[in-house]
């Protein structure tokens, strides 16, 4: 960021204005649309034939849909980390990353909500949650807190966008008529007066304060969906903190991946510098160590005691059916990224990007391992049930819907980056002025 000071306002604006998709952008968007359509077709089949098209049965009633939901909720936490916590802590270097983090948060929370509806056998009864919901149920808390977090994240995305909308409106010839209309609708009232800035800054501060507990709530409540159920692998008082640490890690991993891609695609090397990767690398390694610590707690202590009901579950994870996946998730999601990022050379853009991808992939499979193996090990033995009830491997419809939802989230981020500046223009210019004044 320190070298931005040398750039003129015009140059910064020109660099950061949204750009049209190039050839690679079109291919990328096309692939995502195709995956989304495949997911939509699979969901159509699920609606037509019912949940029988999935591999979920009486025992495994939460499959990859819920794993995906937990993953989305986890990654959405990044909005509060990068935007709110860094802003409140007056961390200036994170400014170019705030919007990336916020759009990841919004898109993830939208698809977290959608994937829950997909998991419902009778989605037309969704409204019954509100009409007949019991406030005693953690599911109801989750519904409330997800809705709340979505609104707060949208506001946190919108308020800092207002000054940028004014800039976008001014560059009508670059954005085109349709987009300009959209910008005008969203931000034509922003004149950039002192009073408007005062109100906006105050609102952003309030949002930053309020989003932190709400973000903690969203993931803690999601963990309680499991922890309030007395089952091997879920019966833990540690689950809230365990989930939050994991969420921070995957969120930070998601941000470094997005940083690298946006930096490469939009040639933002001047704004997302190696220093950003160095600092984000440090954050990721800290969070990975923290999550590893919680993982050791979650698995070592029950394994040390090896209570009979936990035994089958843990054995399956350590040496049984899920062992390959378990050790893959642990090593790729935590250990290898830690080993890469601990060293200064590992905190360069490419290694950080690779570590980020590992963290995200590892996190997805980790969620799968939290949800599914436990359901295959109930306290009472499985008796007189078809063989298929003893195992779970997602059907093609489940894979298509899960991949479609992940593609949908990426599509939202892609379109957002096409329409709006992915790095806040006004904030960068303001910070440049502030730095210049200091000098």
């Amino acid at each position: 960021m320190e070298n931005i000071a040398a750039f003129s306002n015009e140059q910064i604006t020109r660099d950061l204005l949204p750009q049209k998709f190039g050839r690679r952008g079109m291919i990328w968007t096309g692939i995502l649309v195709l995956l989304c359509l495949t997911g939509a077709y699979a969901y159509y089949r699920q609606l037509k034939y019912g949940l029988v098209v999935t591999s979920m049965r009486d025992y495994v009633s939460w499959g990859i849909y819920i794993s995906n939901f937990v993953f989305f909720v986890a990654i959405s936490l990044v909005g509060s980390l990068i935007t709110a916590i860094f802003r409140l802590a007056n961390v200036k270097w994170s400014t170019p990353l705030t919007r990336i983090a916020e759009i990841i948060a919004v898109s993830a929370i939208v698809f977290a909500s959608l994937i829950i509806i997909v998991d419902m056998g009778r989605p037309e009864r969704f409204m019954n949650l509100f009409l007949h919901g019991r406030i005693q149920s953690p599911i109801m808390w989750d519904v409330i807190v997800i809705g709340t977090y979505f609104f707060i994240s949208c506001l946190l995305l919108y308020f800092p966008l207002l000054p940028d909308l004014k800039i976008l409106i001014a560059f009508k010839e670059k954005s085109g008529k349709a987009l300009n209309k959209l910008y005008r609708f969203q931000g034509s009232f922003w004149k950039g007066t002192k009073e408007q800035f005062q109100i906006s800054d105050k609102a952003i501060n309030i949002l930053c304060i309020i989003i932190v507990p709400v973000a903690f709530c969203i993931h803690t409540v999601t963990s309680w969906l499991f922890a309030t159920t007395y089952r091997p692998g879920w019966d833990s008082t540690n689950f809230g903190a365990y989930f939050i640490s994991g969420a921070f890690l995957v969120g930070a991993g998601g941000v470094v991946v997005a940083m690298y891609i946006f930096r490469k695609s939009y040639h933002l090397e001047k704004y997302i510098t190696e220093k950003h990767f160095e600092k984000m690398g440090r954050i990721v390694v800290l969070l990975a160590l923290l999550y590893l610590y919680f993982n050791i707690n979650e698995y070592l202590i029950p394994a040390f005691k090896m209570k009979k009901p936990e035994e089958a579950h843990l054995t399956q994870l350590f040496t049984g059916e899920f062992a390959a996946l378990f050790w893959f998730a642990i090593s790729i999601g935590m250990i290898i990224p830690i080993l890469i990022l601990l060293f200064k050379k590992g905190r360069r853009p490419l290694p950080v990007f690779i570590a980020g991808i590992m963290v995200v992939i590892g996190a997805w499979f980790k969620r799968y391992l939290i949800v599914t193996p436990t359901l295959l090990h109930p306290f009472l033995p499985m008796q007189n049930v078809p063989e298929s009830y003893h195992h779970y491997f997602p059907s093609w419809e489940e894979w298509a819907i899960a991949i479609g939802s992940l593609s949908g989230a990426l599509l939202v981020i892609t379109f957002f980056a096409r329409i709006y500046p992915i790095i806040p223009i006004h904030e960068i210019i303001t910070e440049q002025h502030e730095e210049a004044e200091k000098k």
Binding site: R134, Q136, T148, I152, L155, V214
Partner: protein
Amino acid sequence: MKKLKKNKLLLLFLVFTSMISNTVVGQDSIVAKEIVKLQYFNRNNSLQYLILESILKKGKQIEPQKSKAFKIFLDKDQPENLVAKVMTDDNGKAKAIIPPQLKSIWDSAEQHNFLVVAEASGKEGETPSEFTIRKAKISIDTSSADGTKNISVTVMKYKNGEWLAAKDVEMKIGVQRLGGILPAGESDSYTTDSTGIATSEFKKDSLPGNEYGDLMLVARVEDNDELGNLIVEKPVPWGVVTKTDNGFFNQRALWSTRFRTPLWLLFMAYTIVIGVWGTIIYLVVQLVKIKKIANSTA
């Protein structure tokens, strides 16, 4: 001396090994004996049923014979005298109710033989097991005098074409509870006198009864060689009225319906929701304010 000690040890070793080998050989040579037991039950002089138990005795070990089929006959090993075909369960037991179509055979004699024949034993000439039962009836009566409650149980047996008092029949008299029969008086068992009557004083005051205060008195003759098992029951209003506390289901709890949410939870949830959503609304108002400022500037 040393030699003697050595010999002694050798002798001891030989005795010990011969004992062990004898035991092992002995165990191998023990022939397994199949035992079939049949118990006759008469409940309230109306329902008559039989419980068959099949066990395999091998030395001191007793093992229930699972899934073994038997035929039970009344008096004669004939198809028209068939009581039931039964199959033993995991405990080696099977139950058969004496069917109504055997009433004429039952009424025709004072005592009856039950013949148990194992099915598919592969031993055609196997002698059936026989169990003899004399017809009997049991009744229970109660009386109260000077605050004392008495229970008298009469046992009669059918002999020489008439119902005679059955004397020296041992039985339990008490109150039916979940875990078994709680003795009504101070003694655990009673015996009928020459008139066939056994009497017990009811000394269990303040026993919880049902919603009307009723207790179920029970008299039970168990495994009598001549009469089998006789059971008679009678409800009496001698207990304490038990009121079911349905308030448990009406309380505000985490597991209750949505209309019975705990107040603390409602307070916490609404406080948080109102607090957070109040802030969101405030922020939306700020947006409107920003818009208004723009209009006034224009």
